[in-house]
Every structure is written in structure tokens, then in C-alpha cells.
Amino acid sequence: MTTTTEPRHHEASPPAPLISVRDLSVTYDVARTGKRLIAIEGVDLDVHEGEFVTVLGPSGCGKTTFMNVVAGLVKPTTGTVLVDGSPVTGPGPDRAVVFQDYALLPWRTVFDNVKFGLEMQKALKGEGWRDRVQEAIEMVGLAGFESSYPRELSGGMQQRVGLARAFVAEPRILLMDEPLGAVDALTREVMRDEIDKLIQKTGKTVLFITHSIEEAILLGDRIVVFKSHPGAIKEVIETGLERPRSERSVQHDPRFLELRDHLWEALQGEATAAAVSK
């Protein structure tokens, strides 16, 4: 097993990481009991430009909290998050989020949902933005559905809208919070391959949260495994598999099987621990 733990201090070594997380902890006050709940503790992680990092962990391990801190939606209790060298103080146009529950505006058509990001950033001036929106819609395969409302679309198609909305804002970093968690198994496979292709084509830096081992291996350059109680990084693994990958091409690859078994064991221990602690 070749597992490499993230080196702790290597800012000096060029190139500098695009996302740099140091000693990050987030705690919440639980109002009713007056206790403090530790969501994540002591997280260190560097993500370099163009890297696809998958974050794997059981539910309740704080991986979504971690992503929300990077997105600027949750403030760190201690520690720092740097994006391109400057600390994160809130959401910014350099980061876009794809949500598990799509978070589409039900009162907007596909086209208007996709343009939402541009609109909020006041980027609807001049010409060209229509073409960009149209391009993004075509990129995710939704041409012809521009004037449909979200409720008229299947879950998979709604998430395509979410993807287009994220891509059209042209962020450097894409944060994906279990984007395929709510779509059916078949769609999930198809969309996973499509996301892979899109990311390879556009070269975006990605932080992809998932609880599916296969998804983590098939998509990630590196896999960050979270443990729970408290949420923290358990290990970081380089996948080292050739791209393009597909379920079929890798399912007999010994490296894939080795990774899968390893992660399976790691997660099973976590899941049992979580079940017992409840």
C-alpha cells in the first residue's frame, strides 16, 4: 500500500498550492445543551492548481463543514484557509459550489438559473454573456431545455443545471458537495463520467465530497479520507490511476482493487465507530 500523507509544511516548494488549509477547526455551540460540538478539528490540506481532490468519509464526519469553510459559508473557529495566498473571508467569484440538493431557484427557468451566478456578480453587462450561458447549457447537455422549470426536470438534469451554473461563473475552484448523492444509480454513473470529462477539459481545481468509494477513486487524483468524532483527516491517498478512467476500464486494475479494499476497511472502521458512539 503506497499511502502518502500530505507533507505539513511545504509552502516554500513551488508552485504554491491554490488552496491551503492549516490547522482548521470548526466548533458549534449547541444552544439547548450549552455544549460545544466539534465539527472538524486540526485539518491540514493543500490542493494545487488543476488537481481533482475527492473527500471521502461517513456521514456526519464534517466533510461538508470543511467544504463550507472553503466556500466561505462557514467561518473557521481556529486555523486558516488560504485561496491563492489570501485568506478566505466569505464567498467569492473564484469558487463555485455544486450542491447535493441542487439548490436551484424553482421560479427560474434553466436559462435563468444558469445565469444566476453571473447576475449576482453583476456580470450581465454588454454582449457575450448570453453566449456563455448558452454554451454552458450545451456543455452539460441541456440544449433544448432552456425554458423549462426545475420541477419539470429529473434529478440528474437538475444537477446538470447546477453544474452549468457553477461552470458559467468561471471559477478557478469547483466545490462539489455530494453532487450525485441524490440521483439514481444509473444516472450517477453516466454523470460521474461526464463530470470527469468536463473537468479534464476545463482543467479546474476540484474539491469533491462523496461517501461513495468508487466515486472517490474514479474521480480523484488524491483521496482525502475523513474520520468522525471529531471530524478530521484520517489519511490522504494518491490514486495514481491512468485517465480516462471508467468503471469498466479499472475494475480489473489491481491498483483500483487495492484502493477499494483499503478504503472499504478504513470506512468500515469509521462507520462502526460512528454507530457505536451514537
Partner: protein
């Protein structure tokens, strides 16, 4: 009649009557209902008008009610009373909406306002508006004033409380999406909070139509010299119950018609709600 069942919002959502009826084609539904209505009217006519099992003074048969309607129209009694009632209803309803919508929005925006206005509004809303009728009569005299007051106070709180609830229950995921894409506070209100409150506003308006009509009838029955309620009292006191029933039917038609109008406006203003809400 069939339109009630065909176009009632959310009918298909949780199965039930809507889903059951949905199995039929629209024409089939309408047909079956039309037959039912005819059967019902014939039975009614037979029981009261032909066999005389019920004293027709207390429940006139359909043909007598129709004659009552014709008498009301031809004697010229109907129009002045109807116009006064509709005028009072419309003024009261508009007053209620004009007050309720801004206050509801304010409640949804500001927590202190919500916590002060909320309990007071719920307390008044829980009390049937008939309790305020004698005060209205004492303060506003015997004209249209008390009717307007009672319509307004009946319609005010459902609108107010629905709008406030709509603001408060805006999907947090969509709010997060707004923040991620850089929406300012104003943008968040305009693009996220207000649109997601629209279905609540219309639900409140529909409820207000029903309550406003009850308020109007109550106010007119107990103290007006003119209006549909006064017309009913006069007809009953002279044993012309067929005319009273005709007047009641007109009020029902008005109430149902206004509720349908609200639904039509909703479909036009908020087309995304057209087939049931999420």
C-alpha cells in the same frame, strides 16, 4: 364544478382524492361530476318539491331557488345590494392586502418585528372575527363601514402570517447558493426571499378570500340595512326563503370565483407553481 377538482393546487401531491381522480381523463371526470350534479339536483327536487318530505320553506327545491333568483333580478332588489356588498368586500380586501403584505415582509426580514407582531397577530387570527363586529358597528355606524372593517380584519391575518412564514421558511440551501454566487443583501431579498414567498402570498390570499366572505356575511347579517346579508335577512323574515337561497348562491359564486381568480393570477405571476409546489 369539475374545475375545483381538476385545478385545485397540490391535488396530485400526496395521492388521495386528486390521484384517484387523476386516473380519469379530464373529460371523464367532468362527465361523471356533471351526472352527479344532475342526479343530486333531481333528488333534491323530488324530495322537497314533489314528495314534500321537507318543508320547502326551510329548504326550497332547485326550481324555486331559480325562481327566487329571477324575482331578485326582475324586482331590481339584487343589484343595489350586490353592488354594496361587493364594494365593501373589495375595499376591505384591498385594505387588508395593502397592510398585510408590507408588514408580513417586515416580519420576515426583522426578527424583533417577527417576535412582537407575530404573537399579537396569531392571537387576533385565532379569534373569530365576529367577536369584533359589535365594536365595528359602534365605531363605524350602520353603513358600509363595519362591513369593510370586518372583511379587512378577517382577510388581514391569513395574508400577513403566510407572507411572514414564507419569508422565514425560504429554503436555506437556496440562500446558501445565493451567497456562494456573491449575492448582496438586496439581491438576496429580490432574487431569493421574495420569489420564494410568492406561493405563500397566494395561499394566504386564497384563505383570505374565504374568511373575508364569512366576515362580510357576518357583518351584514347582524346590523346592515343594505347588502346581501341584509337581503337574506329580509327574505327570510318574509318567508321568501327561495330568494334567500338564491342570494346565498350568489355569495358562494362570488367566493369561489374570487378564489379561482387568485389562482389564475398566481399561475400568471408565478408560472413555476403551475402543477403543484415542490
Amino acid at each position: 364544478m369539475s374545475t375545483f377538482l381538476a385545478s385545485g393546487p397540490n391535488l396530485g401531491r400526496s395521492g388521495g382524492v386528486g390521484a384517484w381522480l387523476a386516473g380519469l381523463s379530464p373529460a371523464g371526470k367532468a362527465g361523471v361530476l356533471a351526472v352527479e350534479v344532475v342526479v343530486m339536483l333531481v333528488v333534491w327536487q323530488l324530495v322537497v318539491g314533489v314528495f314534500g318530505w321537507i318543508n320547502p320553506v326551510f329548504l326550497p327545491p332547485p326550481t324555486a331557488i331559480w325562481q327566487g333568483f329571477v324575482e331578485l333580478v326582475s324586482s331590481g332588489v339584487l343589484w343595489p345590494n350586490l353592488l354594496i356588498s361587493l364594494q365593501a368586500w373589495l375595499i376591505g380586501f384591498v385594505v387588508a392586502a395593502v397592510i398585510a403584505i408590507p408588514v408580513g415582509l417586515l416580519m420576515g426580514t426583522s426578527l424583533p418585528v417577527d417576535r412582537v407582531v407575530g404573537p399579537i397577530a396569531w392571537t387576533i387570527y385565532a379569534t373569530p372575527s365576529i367577536a369584533y363586529q359589535p365594536l365595528a358597528k359602534a365605531w363605524f355606524g350602520f353603513g358600509i363601514g363595519p362591513v369593510v372593517f370586518l372583511v379587512a380584519i378577517s382577510a388581514l391575518f391569513p395574508i400577513l402570517l403566510n407572507v411572514a412564514a414564507g419569508m422565514r421558511t425560504t429554503n436555506p440551501s437556496i440562500i446558501r447558493a445565493g451567497r456562494v454566487y456573491g449575492a448582496s443583501r438586496t439581491q438576496l431579498y429580490r432574487s431569493v426571499y421574495l420569489p420564494s414567498t410568492v406561493p405563500f402570498l397566494f395561499a394566504g390570499l386564497r384563505q383570505a378570500v374565504v374568511l373575508a366572505t364569512i366576515g362580510m356575511v357576518v357583518a351584514e347579517l347582524s346590523g346592515s340595512a343594505i347588502g346581501m346579508g341584509a337581503l337574506i335577512i329580509k327574505s327570510v323574515n318574509t318567508y321568501q326563503t327561495d330568494q334567500a337561497f338564491a342570494a346565498i348562491a350568489i355569495i358562494v359564486a362570488w367566493s369561489v370565483g374570487m378564489a379561482q381568480l387568485v389562482t389564475l393570477v398566481e399561475r400568471w405571476v408565478a408560472p413555476w407553481t403551475r402543477t403543484g409546489r415542490r
